[in-house]
Amino acid sequence: MRPISSQFLVLKTTALFILWVMLSGRFDLFHLGLGVSLSFLVAWINSGHSPFVPRFQIWGKILLYFPWLFTRIVQSSLHLTKLILHPRLPIQPRLIRYESTLQEPPAVVLLGNSITLTPGTITAEVNGQLLLVHAMDEVSGQDVTSRRLESKIADIFGEKAPSP
């Protein structure tokens, strides 16, 4: 069993407790007490499994990254809508092999999730730094093949930006 990070335990308990209060909406002693103990129990059970240690200095950059990602999601959604409604269905599906230069596993996870979250591209397989991406057509895959997405994420984690 891994050593438990007490800072992480407190953080997880707090997050779960906030969710509890939000969903229950009751503020009497019984429900709050039940919330605290159950949040702590869940956080404690899960604390041995996660190698992920929170780094607060990158959270600000991640918060700035999400609005940018969202504009990309809207743009590619509109593109995909156009493809689906087009009478001749002009799709050209393809599998893209993509070698990432990101070193840290959380960075690769964020890259894979961002690719999948954007309509038109889905991460089909991840093996270390090698990603297999299924794209709907050339335009959908552009953010991946141009390495624009990856350089954004490299910037968040303070890694060297990939050469295009």
């Binding site: 969710l19 939000m22 969903l23 909406g25 999601i73 809207v74 959604s77 995909l80 809508t81 689906i84 409604l85 269905l89 799709i91 050209q92 599906p93 393809r94 599998l95 894979g112 999730n113 999948t116 979250l117 954007t118 309509p119 038109g120 591209t121 889905i122 991460t123 089909a124 397989e125 297999l132 299924h134 709907m136």
Partner: protein, 99 residues
């Protein structure tokens, strides 16, 4: 306020319908899962924003934000799991023959 919420919900419905059409029209598992992810990313988002405007400022808005956050976390996970399972089962992605 009510008008804004109706506009958002109608826009969300539009994307949900497009996603449904996509699931029927597209040729294979891989491209269909693209259409399904359209449901979550814009369809559900616009619907929930519409409902948030309808509710006004209350604790239900917090719940809607929580639902949105969870949706945006689980959507890529499910899409990735589906596509990976299809790939590992040996399905070949459909390709246009003329290219």
């Amino acid at each position: 306020m009510e008008f804004v919420s109706i506009v958002f919900i109608l826009a969300g419905l539009f994307f949900l319908i497009v996603a449904a059409i996509g699931v029927i029209r597209l040729p294979d598992v891989f491209s269909r899962s693209h259409a399904v992810s359209l449901t979550d990313s814009l369809g559900a988002f616009l619907m929930l924003v519409g409902i948030a405007f309808h509710e006004g400022l209350s604790k239900n808005v917090l719940k809607i934000i929580a639902v949105l956050a969870l949706l945006y976390i689980q959507n890529p996970v499910i899409a990735h799991a589906t596509v990976r399972a299809a790939l590992r089962a040996g399905l070949k992605p459909w390709q246009r023959e003329t290219s």
